[in-house]
């Protein structure tokens, strides 16, 4: 059974027919080929599926696609600007080597993006708490925290 929904995806107005029993994550990946958001645990523990919905970071695996009606969605693919220039967070992750396998990276960056939008100058403790819903099994988090901190410092400058 399908239903029609309307929402904004990375700045573009969308009208879309979607199965009601599909999660937001599946819709983004399968219907729109936006495969940055990943399914890790499928239960809201790992954060690999994090997208920004009406300004808030959410686990796209815990949202039904139909719940996106009227919402403004931002995925990692929508972070770079029109000229394809990288978001400062994306650049910072590269410069700080804040990734290894890369599976957690889109979710981690979207969580960090929402965190910095809400709190442009987080302390290290606030960064740690802020990304606690995103698991990374490679880096040990140190470089991720440094990358986010470096963008927070740019905000200060």
């Amino acid at each position: 059974m399908k239903t029609e929904i309307h929402f904004t995806l990375n700045g573009e107005s969308i009208e879309h027919e979607v199965e009601v029993n599909k999660t937001l994550l599946k819709m983004i990946r399968e219907d729109f080929d936006l495969t940055g958001a990943k399914e890790g645990c499928g239960a809201g523990e790992c954060g690999a599926c994090t997208v920004i919905m009406d300004g808030r970071a959410v686990n796209a695996c815990l949202v039904l696609a139909v719940e996106a009606e009227g919402c403004d969605l931002l995925t990692i693919e929508g972070l770079s600007g029109d000229q394809n220039e990288l978001d400062p967070l994306q650049s910072a992750f590269i410069e700080n080597a804040a990734l290894q396998c890369g599976y957690c990276t889109p979710g981690m960056i979207m969580t960090a993006k929402a965190l910095l939008n809400e709190n442009p100058h987080p302390t290290e403790t606030e960064i740690k708490a802020g990304i606690s819903g995103n698991l990374c099994r490679c880096t040990g988090y140190k470089k991720i925290i440094e990358a986010i901190q470096s963008v927070a410092d740019q905000n200060k400058a």
């Binding site: 059974m1 029993n21 499928g42 994090t50 959410v58 686990n59 815990l62 039904l64 719940e67 969580t111």
Partner: protein, 277 residues
């Protein structure tokens, strides 16, 4: 993959109730969905009708008066935790709200959802029990309020009938009252409570509540009575902790043994009372 279902987005309580009446046991309410969607994917829940109540405007508000706070059914845990009046008057509730899951989960999950799930370790349950909160329920007969302590029945069971909807939770606030919430878990963030508890002192005396020590979050009435009858000293704290440990009935499970949980009850109560010596 979730089994197919019909999805409804009512904009009034009346409309939502009509849907509950039409679909009976095969209907489920969808609020934040952070538990329900996992249960549906795992096949523990296979509703024919999913009724999304988030578009009922009146359920999305926090109402504040001089002496009462009312949290609507669809208010997010992060919005409870960041609300300036809640942080000022009942900071221990804000702290409990922010101790549930991750930031992303709290951006979807609601305080009322945390209560209606009726988990023995629901983090917002102990501050709300200690505040003598009342649950407002809408049904065929109109609106009624029942004390939260009478709302929980057993693990994942409440008194809520199939065709009733929790619309809000309310509690009185008093600036002379103090409360302390503590959550003991294996790691600091994104974990379930091994034991959680709230210790509250108001003008009528003490209220102590604990989670993950019985089939539902509970008040520790004997401990409260003991504390009400004594002036606080180190010896009284020690005795009160012994009363509390005997008043709870935790089980051993993957998170902790029964004895360890009893020790945590002791510690939570001791930590809080020591602040007020």
């Amino acid at each position: 993959m979730m089994k197919p279902f019909e999805y409804f987005r009512p904009t009034s309580l009346k409309e939502a109730l009509a849907l509950l009446n039409t679909y009976g046991e095969e209907a489920t309410l969808l609020n934040g969905g952070t538990d329900l969607i996992v249960r549906m994917r795992e096949g523990h829940s296979s509703p024919k009708a999913v009724i999304d109540i988030k578009h009922i405007e009146m359920l999305r508000k926090i109402k504040v008066t001089d002496s009462e706070i009312t949290i609507g059914a669809c208010v997010l845990l992060n919005d409870v935790g960041s609300h300036p009046v809640i942080r000022e008057r009942v900071p221990f509730l804000a702290q409990a709200a922010l101790s549930v899951g991750s930031k992303q989960v709290r951006n979807r999950a609601t305080c009322i959802g945390n209560i209606c799930n009726a988990s023995p370790l629901a983090d917002t349950a102990t501050p709300l029990l200690a505040l003598d909160a009342e649950v407002e329920i809408y049904g065929e007969a109109g609106v009624k309020r029942i004390p939260l302590k009478d709302f929980f029945v057993f693990v994942r069971k409440t008194v809520l009938k199939q065709n009733e909807i929790v619309t809000s939770i309310s509690f009185n606030t008093n600036k002379d009252a103090k409360g302390i919430f503590e959550k003991m878990s294996r790691r600091k963030e994104v974990d379930l409570s091994t034991v959680c508890g709230t210790v509250f002192r108001g003008k009528d005396g003490y209220r102590v509540s604990m989670g993950a020590v019985a089939p539902t979050p509970i008040r520790l009435y004997k401990t409260e009575a003991y504390l009400d009858a004594h002036d606080l000293t180190e010896d009284v704290i020690q005795s009160a902790c012994e009363v509390a440990v005997n008043e709870v009935s935790p089980i051993s499970d993957i998170r902790a043994s029964k004895a360890y949980r009893q020790e945590l009850v002791h510690l939570i109560l001791k930590h809080a009372l020591s602040e007020w010596l």
